[in-house]
Symmetry: C2
Subunit: 431 residues, 2 copies
């Protein structure tokens, strides 16, 4: 075990047992101070934001990989991510030490503490990465089976390629937004009930979320040089929560033959925190049996995956509190992140720091673990019921969707915070 | 007619009648001087490169939109494009005047001419834009009909949605390369002839090009605010040539149900020059009849399109010269660029300067105008024959593909230069 993952490690900052941000986490983000001031790259400890730019300015990242590079003065994490996994490990080691209970440098320097530590409720968290390309996979077998059963044939729900390769598609990067961004219901072409070939212009009637996790690429590769499956983790900086908002009726009409396009391009929400692979190391578990055996370029040593709890909450405008509507887990993925990255680059496609790769909806076998309204209401035929008597098949205006994720040991919890967003009424486009 | 398009306008630089770069063109690019020195944003006139950074430094773009902005000191055109169409028109007007035969400022200042004008063969041209998102449409009816006939049903070659919306998908931006970049044949999963469900790992055997044009977004829109179809040209900076390299056998196995992914992610080549909409204004013609009538958000005034000749040449390693294998035209597109942009943003999706939108393969009705090997060889059943006795169904190692595009009046030619690239043998991946 790496010393930064030692469960006995404690910070001089008090951290609640169920906090997402113990000293073993040290996620990465971008903070904007309330009331003005420059944005700064940050980490988190308990209820505090840690100013990485200030620590760097104070010369406290002085190892061989980081010293003088000034990557934390940037407005995104991309330059830091581009330094590679040895630099990431170095930063984690320094940060863990600076925040630990038995290290005096920060603990005993009140002036430095003032500069470096800010209560979390005094900042707004922004998107910390510049995302060049966004890729979305389709890697949960229960989800792909549910969708295939509903829209195609329950007997042949998975296409023949599904167990041979991680099916995926290119997504829209420009409309990726950080948690807390509310979104107008999209409008476009949908088929009315009475027609199968003449669309109408309408606000989306089947508005949905998709519970996903994403990984962020760190150092990339040159065009022409695939990333081998068992080197992939050196290129993966960390993981985020992803809500892949979806307009099911727009999708159904448009997606043949080239795949989802406008159904997904109006927004994708991500958590403000990126949790590093290093912090998730204790939560690597053996992945599912893969049968048929993947081709050699997809054979991942130990076939690992992550054990991360993932919950979805919905709160309508007339509900007093958010209600949990889904409890899933990252281990419900058939293909792991290393296989996804190896597959996507096997043609020689190049990866750049900040590229985002989402998993696809993470549904489990149980109904309560389905990661979309489409599946939870089984295509609208079986509404969800809420304590105030309301029902939902798909999302209504004013509904706020919140996803959270965390991995537990007996001693501590590594969390992702949350990704939240509200569906606003459609804009008047004058059409 | 805008004065910069006046056919009688002449430059003090001599320009051949069939040059792609008369004073009416003034395309945008990025040059790297041979033998070192800083890259610089540029235009072209005849056989010369025009250094825009030097003109800006000399204070010669001093109008209200450009003065002091220093956008041509940047390493890409993005900042200039972000200024909007009034700034683009201002730059075009200044540049046209500075290069015209009866304007002394540059013509009679030998020292300035030395700084500003460089013979084209003394520079290398680079990719002049930072491309955030790349979208690829499927907007030529003959192409979509050919593909639908070959792979699905000749009686129902077009899906029901095709004439209601410009079908498209998100592409991979990271692997867009400039003309002159050679590419290794991609490798991945393909089906062997004897199986329809068990793939093998192999170099692509059905390697192809696709003749396309692309438009580059200039100033974008805010998330949530669609770009109206009849305002779209204010957001479109210009057009490029695009070769959308395709691995047909990888595509056939992977593309269900989410569309093309690895088949297209290994490279897309573009011309180094972006020709502005302003320069193409004289080549706007009436587009095809659209029946059924598009929904109002897709109704483009005058339903315009462009008349631009597009040719493809192939030269194998054992051929003495390139042979023309396709003569097509941009007017073979059913959906125009305004409709494409209006459609892609109708959900509220945001566009950023530098986003690239390709047309899809531009095939005409005639066999000689088919814009891919897939169609030219009709899925490999009807090989192309070359003067040295060689045949081709798909691209072989060493084949160089060159696309060129130009629009003609009686007086001058507006050209795009060319986009070229060679297929190199597959890399040894040790797999």
């Amino acid at each position: 075990m790496h010393p930064t993952n030692d469960p006995n490690l404690e910070s001089f900052i008090e951290v609640d047992q169920d906090s997402h941000f113990p000293i073993q986490n040290l996620p990465y983000g971008l903070a904007s101070p309330q009331g003005g001031g420059d944005n700064f790259l940050c980490s988190a400890i308990g209820d505090y934001i840690v100013n990485l730019a200030a620590l760097e300015e104070a010369g406290l990242f002085d190892g061989p990989e980081l010293d003088g590079k000034k990557v934390f003065q940037e407005s995104t994490l991309n330059a830091f991510m581009d330094l590679g996994h040895e630099a990431w490990n170095e930063a984690r080691t320094y940060l863990s030490k600076l925040l630990s209970a038995d290290e005096a440098t920060l603990r005993d320097d009140e002036s430095l503490r003032q500069q470096v530590l800010t209560p979390m409720d005094k900042v707004e968290l922004l998107l910390p990465i510049d995302i060049g390309d966004y890729t979305d996979f389709y890697s949960s077998e229960p989800h792909a089976t549910n969708v295939g059963s509903m829209f195609r044939d329950p007997e042949n729900a998975l296409k023949p390629n599904w167990k041979h390769l991680p099916v995926g598609y290119h997504g829209r990067a420009s409309s990726i937004v950080v948690s807390g961004t509310d979104l107008h219901r999209p409008q476009g072409q949908i088929l009315p009930p009475e027609s199968d070939d003449t669309p109408i212009f309408s606000a989306c009637k089947l508005c949905d979320f998709e519970l996903e996790m994403g990984f962020v690429a760190g150092k990339g590769n040159e065009l022409g040089d695939p990333i081998p499956v068992n080197k992939a983790d050196e290129h993966i900086f960390g993981l985020m929560l992803v809500n892949d908002w979806s307009a099911r009726d727009i999708q159904k009409w448009e997606y043949q033959p080239l795949g989802p396009f406008l159904a997904k391009n109006w927004a994708t929400s991500v958590s403000p925190w990126i949790v590093s692979l290093a912090a998730l190391e204790p939560f690597r578990i053996e992945g599912p049996d893969q049968d048929p055996e993947p081709l050699p370029y997809l054979q991942s040593e130990d076939n690992w995956t992550f054990d991360i709890n993932l919950d979805v909450f919905l709160q309508g405008e007339d509900m007093d509190e958010p209600h949990k509507i889904c409890a899933s887990n990252a281990k419900n993925l058939y293909w792991n992140v290393a296989q996804q990255l190896a597959h996507q680059t096997i043609t020689g496609c190049n990866v750049k720091p900040g590229d985002l790769y989402a998993s696809g909806t993470i549904s489990g076998e149980e109904e309560s673990s389905y990661g979309s309204m489409l599946e939870l209401s089984w295509k609208g035929t079986d509404p969800l019921e809420f304590p105030n008597g309301e029902e939902r098949t798909f999302l209504e205006d004013g509904d706020e969707v919140t996803m959270t994720g965390y991995a537990d040991t007996d001693e501590y919890r590594i969390g992702f915070g949350e990704v939240t967003g509200k569906v606003l009424p459609p804009k008047d486009l004058g059409l």
